[in-house]
Symmetry: C2
Subunit: 391 residues, 2 copies
């Protein structure tokens, strides 16, 4: 089995862009990906592509993957649209890694996009609910904020987590996002602001919810031969993990944990040969504030119930022992559904190259964690600087 | 690179099933897949799944892949929804083969489904157009029958192909489908009936168009070790090919050929080490009658312009030199979008096991050809009996 490496990664600005299309956003992400490659890359050498999007927002629906790659000038290459809700591009990366490891391709594009602020189509209106379980969640009117509010309530009840704990996710991530020129909500917020924001789905308020965002992101995955032709320090995909979970929250044994995250993390740690203690940073899926707390616990950053303490003690701040969401996370950087998974990898790539907007101290290894829906599909990847670590 | 083998394949009946859901249909396909496996298979050994669907018809939209596998009892396994319009499950098979060849999994489920006859949702009404190019085809009112009618007109103009030639596709495929207990339109039709049917999009009439169908299909892809544990005669995936094409018909240099089919076929033939002359049967994508004629030419079964002759001479009849669409094809068996690609593989598996409803004479090797939209994404696979051919 060949190793897989990231040789380039880039994203469009995340935000609300009424004058952009899914293809113009992806063009920007792709251009920036190419710019991030050390050596000379001929785009004709890109052999396959996997494009993640939920994509029911009124633009190109069927065959949007090939519609993206033809616009990039990558004519004719096999292109697969991957959809696993908010984990769509975490899964497109997974397929790209498999394509490289299989020997079927040496250089593969993985990415994703979403255009969410175009509400010109009827379909956009029921958009965000469509990744919930259909019969008992979506059709009965449960929104995603409602689903995560149930998890937050349960966590508060079981562990004494407070609204201030939830709000500290926003304070930290906005603090990071304020430094990120590509962030959708690139401004700081105070704990007071975050605690007192208007309710969305109690106990979650406006500052506990990520925005609705347009954007695209992309990464280039290469085999060993191609990777070291392009750069002396490709980023190794050291760990790959993915798992499904019950799509409906009501079908799960607990509301305070996402089993698919645990399972995916276990796989990725085992393959990478490290545990959470071997990580120098992480980008986790904070679609709602409670989701970041659950991620800490399910990824093994702390024991169940201790995520609030981790935050309070600043241990996931940029200068803490394990900085989390230095990009601003979904909360501040934004959450263009299909673009989020590979968008997290863009941050990991920048961190490991020393080029992040909130740079951690000489990191060797980082993790990305991408959640579809409320945990119906999860990917976890571990990335590693090859110049520092022998595979 | 490990070889990949098909160890089981099955489909639900194709038809109009108002009392079924996407999950109940997939359950049937999966049960039949398991029944088709020679040895004892523990479903807990299935490590990953790829589920193809266009899936914008009002059922589970986001995360429908995990929603399918949880219903099958395959809890927790990584499940990716793949969407490439009518080639969705051709591409889900491609990803399953890559997963096995990569060493990331030894036993992988690939399949697809569609529920098309449920028109209770608004979204179903614009369904079939969504895989056309958006700005210049779909939003300007071009239907898929309209797109293929343009190809038919061009072929008639360029090569003198006649309405009778188109109608012979229906006569042949209905003749085959009438023997297939799982066919949606399992009845014969005469040349006179087919020629004189009401127009849909001139020159295509009702008998030149496939039906709108509910159904599901599945295959199990295994690594060498697992495959030969389960059976002495697994079906080897000897050739794999895929390519994209311009999504919009107006963007292509010719209306009488689908470049992505040619490219995908070239890859599959090269990998399999055979050309069309090495095939004993083929399942080709006959969503409209003209599509089968184009397939003959683009897959190299004959020269450009000669497809009508091939049909007239009966060379693709069940007793001809290269039987095509012995299952009944999309025309008679039916075309549940996401289920079609792996549905074709079900027929290939049955043919190579000597269990097809219209059985060809001791076949060793067959091809499947799955087209997304009007050629925006195509897969071609070649399958081979291992008992007859050394890899």
């Amino acid at each position: 089995m060949s190793e897989a490496y990231i040789v380039g990664a880039g994203q469009s600005p995340f935000g609300s862009f009424p004058d952009e299309t899914y293809r113009s956003l992806f063009d920007t992400a792709f251009d920036r990906t190419l710019e991030s490659v050390d050596g000379e890359l001929d785009t004709a050498d890109i052999e396959e592509a996997f494009i993640g999007t939920l994509g029911v927002g009124g633009r190109q629906i069927g065959l949007s993957g090939p519609a993206v790659t033809e616009h990039l000038g990558l004519h004719g290459i096999p292109t697969t649209r991957v959809e696993n809700a908010c984990a769509s591009s975490g899964y497109s990366l997974r397929s790209a890694v498999a394509a490289v490891k299989s020997g079927m391709a040496d250089l593969v594009l993985a990415g994703g996009y979403e255009v969410m602020t175009d509400t010109s189509s009827d379909h956009t209106k029921w958009w965000l609910g469509v990744s919930g379980e259909t019969e008992w969640e979506r059709l009965s009117g449960t929104t995603f904020a409602g689903v995560y509010a149930q998890m937050a309530s349960a966590h508060m009840d079981e562990y004494g987590t407070t609204k201030e704990d939830l709000s500290r996710v926003a304070v930290k991530n906005h603090g990071n996002g304020a430094q990120n020129p590509d962030a959708h909500l690139g401004f700081e917020c105070s704990l007071e602001d975050a605690v007192n924001a208007p309710d969305v789905a109690d106990p979650l308020n406006l500052y506990h919810c990520c925005p609705t965002t347009d954007g695209a992101s992309a990464v280039l995955v290469a085999s060993e031969d191609v990777a070291f032709d392009l750069t002396d320090d490709p980023i190794r995909v050291a760990g790959v993990g993915a798992a499904s979970g019950r799509v409906g929250l009501f079908q799960r044994p607990s509301l305070t944990s996402i089993p698919a995250t645990k399972e995916a993390a276990e796989q990725a740690y085992e393959m990478a040969g490290v545990g959470p203690e071997g990580l120098d940073f992480a980008e986790v899926h904070d679609c709602f504030a409670i989701a970041e707390l659950l991620a800490y616990e399910d990824l093994g950053f702390c024991e169940p119930g201790e995520a609030g303490t981790l935050l309070r003690e600043g241990r996931t701040d940029p200068d803490g022992e394990l900085p989390v969401n230095t990009s601003g996370g979904l909360k501040s950087k934004g959450h263009p559904i299909g673009a989020t998974g590979t968008g997290q990898v863009v941050e990991a790539f920048k961190q490991l190259r020393g080029k992040a907007s909130v740079q951690t101290d000489d990191p060797v290894r980082g993790l990305t964690h991408n959640v579809g829906g409320s945990g119906g599909g999860v990917t976890v990847h571990v990335f590693e600087r090859t110049s520092e670590v022998e595979p």
